[in-house]
């Protein structure tokens, strides 16, 4: 800013800026009230000291979190959470793919009846094309090859 004002032809009175604030205060009447109103206790500043040893050794009070009541509460909460996690996370996922063949066989043989299967069938919609077409010659050949002794044995 000062450089911009160089050689511009304008001049200011000597010490104008230095005395500006004084003049402003006089003008505003602030000079007359500028005397120290705030006081301190006697020798307060002379005796002011900071005890740094207190700053360094200042330790917050340790409050034990393991009171009997709190310990019981904490244990109960932990047990509840553990139980919930066990029930939700370790739940076996039963899908058809993981089913053992023997289990399925046992279930079909012991736990079901023909009527159960009949429930899944809708005879109204059954059509001839739903059944295998077996050639009568093949059927005759198959029938002739059955060993009767085997059937008797079974």
């Amino acid at each position: 800013m000062k450089q911009n004002n160089k050689n511009n032809g304008f001049k200011i009175p000597k010490d104008y800026f230095e005395s500006f604030e004084d003049k402003l205060h006089t003008e505003l009447g602030l000079h007359s009230i500028k005397k120290e109103a705030f006081k301190t206790p006697e020798n307060y500043l002379e005796n002011f000291k900071i005890d740094t040893s207190l700053i360094e050794t200042e330790q917050p009070k340790v409050i034990s979190i393991f009171s009997r009541r709190k310990l019981f509460l904490a244990t109960s909460i932990a047990a509840t959470i553990a139980l919930l996690l066990t029930l939700t996370l370790n739940k076996p996922s039963n899908t058809f793919d993981t089913l053992e063949n023997d289990t399925l066989k046992t279930f079909v043989l012991n736990e079901t009846s023909t009527q159960d299967f009949a429930l899944f069938l809708d005879d109204v919609n059954l059509e001839e094309s739903d059944f295998l077409t077996i050639d009568s010659d093949e059927f005759e050949t198959y029938f002739n090859n059955i060993d009767l002794e085997d059937l008797i044995t079974e």
């Binding site: 800013m1 604030e21 402003l24 205060h25 505003l28 009447g29 602030l30 007359s32 009230i33 500028k34 005397k35 109103a37 705030f38 006081k39 301190t40 206790p41 307060y44 500043l45 002011f48 000291k49 900071i50 740094t52 700053i55």
Partner: protein
Amino acid sequence: MIDEQELVKNLINESTRQKAFSTLVSLYKERLYWHIRYIVKSHDDADDVLQNTFIKVFKSISKFKGDSKLYSWLYRIATNESITHINKNAKRLQISNQEAQDLAINNLEADVYFEGDDIQLKLQTAIATLPDKQQLVFNMKYFQELKYSEISEILETSEGALKASYHIASKKIEAHLKSH
């Protein structure tokens, strides 16, 4: 004359810290006290804030990077601590910050460490009506007689802006004094 860089070096060094800190307190306690006192008004509050300021300085001296001058760093901590103190008082009393400042002015009348007359009380009331930044600038210039260059370092504001701020503050105070 104490070398500021040397003082900072001694404050950071653990073996010389205690002595250097005592020197720092002796050097700055008076200036910081008055800076704080003009903000918080009561002596008891100023004493609390001054203690807190030096404790904070002691604890965080290792964080002082020397990017600014030591005195401006100290003044900034003192300013922040003073404002925090006013905010805490306001919160404790469940009133606004402005109401907390007004309360501090009202308490001056009964304060044994305030010997101002009516006009000085009115001046304090007028200062309290200014925005926070203008209050700071006015107090630092009018009462503490700091140079604009110093205030500029402390408040990190340009000297031009500070001059404008001080001028506006003075005019507002004049208007307040005339109307009350």
